[in-house]
Symmetry: C2
C-alpha cells in the first residue's frame, strides 16, 4: 500500500491561519499592546467582525483583552500571549515551507 | 489626519487563503491534473468537505473538474486554471511579504 505524504497545509491551524486573525496576531507580535480601533482600521474590519475574531483568539488563549480609558473614552487594548506568539511562530514556519515549495510558480 | 497603512494580510483573498483551498491550489500547481481521492487523502479532508471547497474554487474559475473513468470506476480529476495559477501566485507573494516581516519572531 502506498503511503501518502501529508501536504504542508495540513499543519496549518484554522484559528491562526484565517486572514483577519493572522493579521491580528501579526500586528500584536510587533507591539506591546494595540488599541482595538487601530487594529480595526489597519485590517479594514468592521467592529463586529473584529470583536468576533478577537473572541475566537481569546478563547484559544492566544490574545488577552484589557478594558481601560484614554482620558474619558473607553478603550480596549489587545496583547498577544506567549501561546499566541508560539502559535504564530508555527504558522509562519508552515507558510515559509509552503512558499519555498511554490517558489517557481 | 494620520494615514493608516494597510496590513499585508488585507491583500489576502479568502477564497484562495483558506487552508484547504490553499492546499488544493498548491497541489494542482505542481501537477497537470490530480484525482479527487488523492487530494482528499493528501489534505486529510472528508469527501463532502473537499467537494464543497472545489465548488467554491470552480465557481471562482480557479479550478476545472473533469469526470471520467479509470477502467470502470468513475473518477473526478481536477486541474488548475490560468486564473487559479495567477491567484495562487498573488497569495504566495503576499505570504512571502508577511513571512519576511515576521522573520524575527
Amino acid at each position: 500500500m502506498t503511503q501518502i505524504e501529508n501536504h504542508p497545509t495540513t499543519g496549518l491551524d484554522e484559528v491562526v491561519h484565517q486572514r483577519a486573525r493572522l493579521g491580528v496576531l501579526a500586528m500584536l507580535a510587533e507591539a506591546d499592546k494595540v488599541e482595538f480601533g487601530f487594529i480595526q482600521q489597519t485590517l479594514e474590519l468592521t467592529a463586529g467582525n473584529l470583536s468576533r475574531h478577537l473572541a475566537t483568539l481569546e478563547k484559544a488563549d492566544l490574545v488577552r483583552l484589557e478594558k481601560g480609558y484614554d482620558g474619558r473614552r473607553p478603550r480596549t487594548w489587545v496583547r498577544i500571549t506567549a501561546e499566541g506568539r508560539a502559535a504564530l511562530k508555527q504558522e509562519v514556519a508552515a507558510l515559509r515551507e509552503l512558499v519555498a515549495r511554490l517558489s517557481d510558480l
